[in-house]
Symmetry: C2
Subunit: 105 residues, 2 copies
């Protein structure tokens, strides 16, 4: 994460880093990039960065400060953006309402 | 960058990290995300990661392993993807041809 001075606008503590590792051979860059944009739109003041990490072997894994919060290898189907936002929200902004992402289908 | 074992497919040396810091108030996430996708498409085996870093104050800055290779504060106009690919290529894959990105307009 970029070091920055505390301007009084940013929180003085380091904001969490989220990373999305995706399989390049599966052509999942657009999917990973879409997830990154969804998360950065919702959590723009909460996340320090979202890193897109090229990988291989069918990997699609989302990690928050190193903790795996979603992985294709352990979850049967792809998650959608609303699911992922809830997983991130529960960890970094637990009081936050997510609008229609909070409603169950 | 994610730690990973050397499987024989990946280069044993750490691949460089590129980061794009963008101003959220200027709504430059789509621009930053587009640049990230362009660079990851061209350099998918060369870059360790591309990080999208939310910032403020009109920032749009591209850093490669901490070195600023393009910044809106020192360059008058926005760069395009071909310019940025040449800047990255010259540093991490100097022998690489970039097809039509190498041609001057």
């Amino acid at each position: 994460m970029a070091e920055r001075e505390n301007t009084g606008q940013d929180a003085p503590v380091a904001r969490p880093r989220l990373e999305i590792e995706y399989c390049t051979r599966c052509r999942w860059l657009p999917r990973a990039s879409w997830m990154a944009q969804e998360l950065l739109t919702t959590f723009e003041a909460d996340l320090g960065e979202v890193a897109l990490v090229p990988g291989t072997g069918g990997v699609f894994e989302v990690r928050l400060d190193g903790e795996v919060i979603w992985s294709r290898s352990s979850d049967a189907a792809f998650t959608d953006a609303a699911d992922l936002k809830r997983l991130v929200r529960d960890r970094i902004a637990p009081g936050r309402a997510l609008g229609h992402s909070d409603r169950t289908a």
